[in-house]
Amino acid sequence: MPPLILDVGCGRKKYPGSIGIDMSSAGEADVLCDWEKTLPFRDSSFDQVRMIHIIEEVDNIFRVLAEAHRVSKPGAIVTIITPHYTDHASYCSPAHRWHLSSFSFWFFSDKPAEYDYYAPANYKERRVHVETLRLWRTFGLEFMINKFRWFRKFWEYYLSFIFRGKTVEWNLEVIK
């Protein structure tokens, strides 16, 4: 059986081969639902869940990630792409509620037990990839940020308002 992929908030560019869900029928959705409340799927159904430019718009990131965790098989990958908060695109839409950095999901991964009560889903950060503005990429900054975690931290702390980011992509492995 081919892997079962869920594209949450698929819009008009549904991921090929996936099941798309959205709130609007104007896109390519297979299932219409208010996915911010409950996903209409059984526990441990999917091999991959994709959330592309969606997480910055939801009411409650924790609830959405808890639902994505529930419908994912153990070991499944949840892919999230969102603007870095230093990119202009983070502020371009009146639907963007959240402005996130490349460390915004760290506490779902290897989190201390005392965080369980407010971030109940358990994930492991498998990949974090930052894209920067083109000018900074040509200077090798994007390479450095993604090659060395310590440099990404230094960039987030000291450099990111000057050498601005663009998007961040995570692959989070579902731990059950």
């Binding site: 202009h88 009146p94 639907a95």
Partner: protein
């Protein structure tokens, strides 16, 4: 809309707070405004859109109560100004492209499919801090589309914005 104590002269003021100059007490976050469709020639929202629970729902209401061809004026801080973060009731941090969402073809040449609101941009002016204005940056940002884009992408955390003023023409 959200007129506060300094209502625009000659207007009908709406606010959620009865100790303001409001003529009508209503809450922008609580459903339909108490006005008929296409009632107003001009709707003003000064420093109010950054406070509402749902900008799209509020713009839909502003659009509904404005006559076809009428105008909506919005003033709000640019997200690089400190005032965007000074007030704990500011929910949204916006830039000069934040209302493209409602323009015909505003989403990379296509209409946004999550809302039916359509309006044209008549004016989109961003003021900068006084130092940058004196050095001519405010003129450049408002008179060159290319410089505006470069400023939003690369410069706006250094040469920071202040107030944005938009005038939209309502299409129905």
């Amino acid at each position: 809309m959200g007129c506060g104590p300094k209502k625009y002269p000659g207007s009908i003021g709406l606010d959620m707070n009865a100790s303001t100059a409001a003529d009508v007490i209503a809450h922008l976050d609580k459903g339909a405004l108490p006005f008929r469709d296409s009632s107003f020639d001009h709707v003003r929202g000064e420093h109010v859109i950054e406070h509402v629970a749902d900008i799209i729902a509020t713009m839909e209401e502003f659009h509904r109560v404005t006559k076809p061809g009428g105008t909506i004026f919005i003033a709000t801080p640019h997200y690089t100004d400190y005032s965007s973060f000074r007030d704990p009731t500011h929910r949204w941090h916006l830039n000069t492209y934040s209302f493209l969402y409602f323009y015909p073809g505003g989403m990379h040449g296509r209409d946004m499919w999550y809302t039916k609101v359509r309006m044209l941009e008549k004016r989109n002016y961003v003021s900068l801090l006084r130092l940058w204005r004196a050095l001519g940056f405010e003129f450049l940002v408002n008179h060159s589309k290319m410089f505006r884009q470069f400023w939003e992408h690369y410069l706006s955390f250094l040469i920071r914005g202040k107030l944005m003023e938009f005038t939209f023409e309502v299409i129905k």
